[in-house]
Amino acid sequence: VGLTACQKSEAPAANGGSGSNAPSPNGKPLIIGVAFETLQTEYWVASFEAIKADLKQRGYPMLEAVSDGDANRQLEQVKNFITRKVDGIILVPKDAKTCLPIIKAANAASIPIVLFNRPADKSAAKSVAIVADNFALTQETVAYLMSEAKKTGRKHKAAILIGDLSDINAIGRRDGFDAALKGNEGVVEVVARIPTEWNQEKAQAGLVNALQANPDISFIFTSSDFLFPSIVSALKSAGKYHKFGTPGHVILGGFDGDATAYQMLQDGYLDATGVQDVYFEARQSIQAILNLRAGKPVPELIRDPGFVVHQGNLQQKAAQMWGAQIAKK
């Protein structure tokens, strides 16, 4: 809501140039290069928009690049940033390893680089990472779902929608799910592990087939909220889409906290979702660049604790939930 006002007042500054009235540590506006790996889910779009809005508010021009899942292209893009002499780089790397040469290139040009949402592996290359812990947050979310499942007093058959097997986040969430499962085998038995390749159609078809094989599935976890429309469609066609607390309700859990998830929580269909604090991460990334430029000490890893939103705490957490903000708009 506040964003539009800012955009208007800052409009001339967006052009950058020497006449800008934007304050910055040494008087000139900083050019920040933002390189994303993908913009193909709500979550990344929201993060991207959050960074963009934050930078705009500060009057810093931004260069953008999206590599569409290609680690090599990302390397090219960051090199292009360096060619353009940016003052800082915010990077969503493809994975923990392919980003190392990118970081090295930035180090060599002494440009501060912040990894957004995905950490790099340990190495000599220096960077700051702002991360939500996929593993821990998923574990926490699934643990909540388990406790809900226990309350019903019966054993549940479960399906998990796994993301792209070559995506590090997808793997982290899968592992978090498995970790939460440990010791709870008596409560939940996984009867379907559906690889979705982050594709809605595959998710939908896979879930329909899983429900075909096990019509009594009553527990579904998805590695990303953006697959919820597919899940809802599959559940509806199986006649199993019921509100929380009504008989036949399928326990649903997700990750990300997008607008659809918010809506489903509000309507009482969704049990819980793990939310990453996008606004916190955006703010921290830019602050880290400023601090690095100012020579202040910055920790190598800044954690976004994230939080689980569920039926019990929806009202109090909604304000921090990026999906809720979008849904309200």
Binding site: Q40, I162, I194, Q200, E201, G206, A210, V232
Partner: protein, 329 residues
């Protein structure tokens, strides 16, 4: 010469792909009895409708020795437009009409560049793949869009007890089959694919046929998009991605040649589309290790095509014309 073993062998060979298809289904059925239920068969068929319909359009194009790489982009773009229209409160039929019109429009652009400006279909449609996806991303701002429930109801509607998607698929197949096999236009497509220069010499309006073929492909892509949306209920930025490969694979699996002039939509392309979907469905029902999906799918496709090509070689050998009447020895 009537009931010799070779006559029996011939019949078996003629229907080799069907035999293989049944074998694959039987294997899945033996491993998971749930797979062989009527419900599941209908499910698999419904799930293969979008691929099937897009592949029917693709078959027309492939028969002329062309290719249409823009089908996935057409699906996405038309879906994005429909999503926006529905969000703006337009009636559903209008949105559906707009989708089909988009498909036709893109088909017309393809046709214009290919027939008027004589650019290779591969390049034209590749370029339109980029343009189409780019436009769609602009329209959606890379956000997922949830469609109103009316759309999902299309997917579960029934006509005289038959699910609507199956009715549409059946109609498309019937029309396409009759057009290809029983109309002058269809037979001329085969002639054109066999030898374009000779087709012109023979007095066929080759440019007109080529143009029509791309229009058909565009229309089928949009129609496939509608059916897919009717199952998903949402448009995501990945919608329709890699559909060009899926459609070509289904057509080629059904015996259509990339070099033109050979192939058929029924049963060829239909079998191809259903086979791909059956494998996926079977694997989910078996709860197979997600890592094995691509390997098994590839193996089955390989086997299917191997059978088909062996069959062709054997048939050609058995069908060789005879000069002499040999006395039985």
């Amino acid at each position: 010469m009537n009931a010799t073993p070779s006559a029996l062998l011939l019949t078996a060979l003629r229907h080799a792909s069907l035999v293989l298809f049944v074998t694959i289904i039987a294997v899945f059925g033996a491993l998971a009895p749930k797979f062989l239920t009527a419900d599941n068969a209908i499910n698999v068929l419904i799930q293969s409708t979008p691929t099937g319909i897009v592949a029917v359009g693709m078959t027309f194009v492939l028969l002329t020795a062309g290719v249409d790489l823009s089908v996935g982009a057409i699906m996405f773009l038309s879906a994005a437009i429909a999503g926006k229209m529905l969000a703006a409160g337009q009636p559903l039929p209008l949105a559906l009409g707009a989708m089909l019109a988009t498909g036709l429009g893109f088909g017309a652009i393809n046709a214009f560049f290919i027939t008027r400006l004589r650019i290779a279909p591969f390049i034209v449609t590749l370029a339109l793949l980029f343009v189409g996806r780019g436009l769609a991303l602009t329209i959606t701002q890379t956000r997922a869009m949830n469609l109103p429930d009316r759309f999902l109801q299309l997917g579960s509607a029934r006509v005289a007890g038959v699910p609507l998607p199956l009715v549409v698929l059946g109609a498309v197949l019937l029309v396409a089959h009759v057009v290809l096999m029983r109309t002058p236009f269809g037979r001329q497509i085969y002639a054109l694919g066999n030898h374009p220069a000779n087709a012109r010499k023979a007095g066929i309006r080759t440019q007109r046929i080529l143009a029509t073929v791309y229009l058909i492909s565009g229309l089928c892509a949009a129609l496939g998009g509608i059916l897919s949306l009717a199952q998903l209920g949402a448009v995501s930025p990945k919608f329709g991605e890699a559909y060009e490969f899926k459609a070509i694979a289904a057509a080629v699996l059904g015996g259509t040649s990339l070099f033109g002039g050979r192939g058929a939509v029924f049963p060829g392309t239909l079998l191809g589309a259903v086979l791909i979907q059956s494998i996926e469905s079977g694997l989910v029902i078996l709860n197979a290790d997600p890592y094995l999906y691509p390997v098994i799918t590839a193996a089955v496709i390989f086997l299917a095509v191997l059978t088909d090509s062996t069959r062709h070689t054997l048939l050609a050998r058995l069908n060789r014309r005879r000069i002499r009447q040999e006395l039985p020895t």
